[in-house]
């Protein structure tokens, strides 16, 4: 090992423990501290496993769209942390549930839904900027495979379409950048922008911008209010929507 390698390794090991965990650290390269569980009304439940590992799932959605994600801190250099997150999703029950007559039928009831498994892999890098602010960038690739006869149309809405496009196109990409930090006392902010790439002749990309403000009470409660500006190219054209966001989060 070269001298430079030794120095780098020493820095990485020395800094790893200090920076690889963080509370309320969803959408960053940090993982939830060991033995801590953070959950939300709408967001994922995250559990710190220690050793730079985090397990997460969306409990509200789990029974209709089974999903599990593992995030691991892969590399720490100085203040910067690089993690990878791998999410396995089985959306078939949800698509079958939505293929129905009447209200709530987002897909035609005659849809034939195959067994679909999707694997999303993301690399996240978080760089503290000082004064509590941090910049996070991420790059992701979703791969999906289907087994069985399929006759399912897309759900042509912003936010939904780019996230489900991989089920139909087998591969999509995403990349984003976020900035988060304190605003005043217990109030924090988070702004981000994310780009989705869809290899489809009708819809090729989508973009979203989030603005979130959170109020943290002690170490266990957090209230988040925000808004999402979503643009998506869709099979018929494009659509822009502004959506409200709300979550109540609890940790133990």
């Amino acid at each position: 090992m070269s001298l430079l390698g030794c120095v780098l390794a020493t820095v990485v090991v020395a800094q790893a423990e200090a920076y690889k965990t963080g509370t309320w650290s969803a959408a960053t390269a940090y993982v939830t501290p060991e033995n801590r569980v953070e959950t939300g009304l709408f967001g994922a439940t995250r559990m710190g496993l220690g050793d730079g590992l985090e397990l997460s799932s969306h409990p509200l959605w789990f029974f209709v769209i089974p999903n599990v994600a593992v995030k691991r801190v892969d590399w720490v250099l100085g203040d910067a942390v690089l993690s990878s997150e791998h999410t396995l999703t089985y959306p078939t029950p949800l698509l079958k549930l939505l293929s129905r007559e009447g209200v709530g039928g987002l897909l035609p009831h005659e849809s034939r839904v195959p067994h679909i498994v999707a694997l999303t892999n993301e690399l996240l890098v978080t760089q503290p900027l000082g004064f509590g602010h941090a910049l996070t960038g991420w790059l992701g690739l979703t791969l999906a495979g289907a087994v069985g006869r399929a006759n399912v149309t897309t759900i042509d809405l912003p936010v939904v379409y780019p996230r489900m496009a991989a089920y139909y196109e087998h591969v999509t990409g995403n990349a984003g950048l976020s900035l988060a930090g304190p605003v005043w006392r217990k109030v924090t902010y988070r702004v981000d922008g994310e780009l989705f790439l869809i290899p489809n002749r009708q819809a090729t990309w989508a973009a979203e911008a989030d603005l979130e403000v959170s109020y943290t009470l002690g170490d266990t409660w957090q209230l988040m209010l925000g808004t999402k500006l979503a643009y998506s190219q869709l099979p018929y054209g494009s659509l822009t929507r502004l959506l409200p966001m709300l979550d109540v989060r609890y940790a133990f």
Partner: protein, 372 residues
Amino acid sequence: MPRPRPLWSRPTRILRGGVGILFGLLAACSLTDPFHTDFDAIEPAVMYQAAHLTPAAAPTDSLLVMTYNIKFGSARVRFFFECEGTRGVMSDDEVIGNLAGLAGKINQVQPDVLLLQEVDVGSKRTAYVDQVQWLLDHTHLNYGAYASQWRADFVPTDGVGRVDSGNAVLSRWPIHEAERLALAQSRANSAVVNYFYLKRNILRGHLSVGEHDLWFLAMHAEAFSDDDIRKEHIAMFSQLLTELDAEGAHVVAGGDFNTIPPGSKRLSGFPDDCADGRYDNDDYAGEEHYLDTLYAGFSEAISLPAYQADNTPYFSFTGDAASGWNRRLDYLFTNGSFVVGSGLVHQDLTQGGYDTLPLSDHAPVSAQWVLP
């Protein structure tokens, strides 16, 4: 360790305030009509032009006018809202195939002005094919005006998704000042149902044909209602026609009125009635005089005495191709006149020279409209 510095400094406060106001305004706009289903009382129609214009000679004494409810190019595919219907979407190939059949009929008749109902221009159920543009590009007609009667970015029922469907008028000659005039919705429906439900309208505009300035009115009246909304639609149509007439305009006015002419032999118990359909079977009892004002004040393509003598040759609708045409719902009126005997309901090979039964649940109605 330095203390976290709040972002409450002056430049960021201004920036944040601006972003907040921008997001707030956008949110307010999104929340008032989140799925874009609403229309103003009067809106400009959406104008179209064929990719390649077909030269049209100036007419001499009359124009051939036709009205046709094309059932969004679904031909005889039974959708979930129809009797024993199972389908929710069609493939691109299905839609284009059905439109080719309709274009075949239109090209056979060669109308100068064509009033269309139930034309999809960007609906998921019809593979997002713009049917106005497609028909212009595959017929001799050059110009179009479109007024949506069912538009939503997303309808969250029955897999409908995005829909944009409505009335159109196609013409050999340029169309001017076409407007979408909103009609009332049924008061029997809840606000939520009406938010996503059809918004009927009258499409009004005029054509410059040689030295003639000609007007048109086109309507598709309410089909399903537990109140008198269909009667109101027809009354509004009659009023607009009367107003144009008073102004000295030369008008052709028609469409699918979803009611039967006075003197119809059968008012209910039609051969295509459905045992367990989503909607009640049609019963026109009480509607026998809905069209009296129109018949009294204006000329219709099919003479009323002829119809009353024998309804059958003038039937223009059936929900079931196997049971054949069984009632008349489609009309052409004018404050001028039609060439006597030119009115025709294009029912089949012997009456119209084309088998229209497989093309739509309506048959086209045409007549030679005398120029002033």
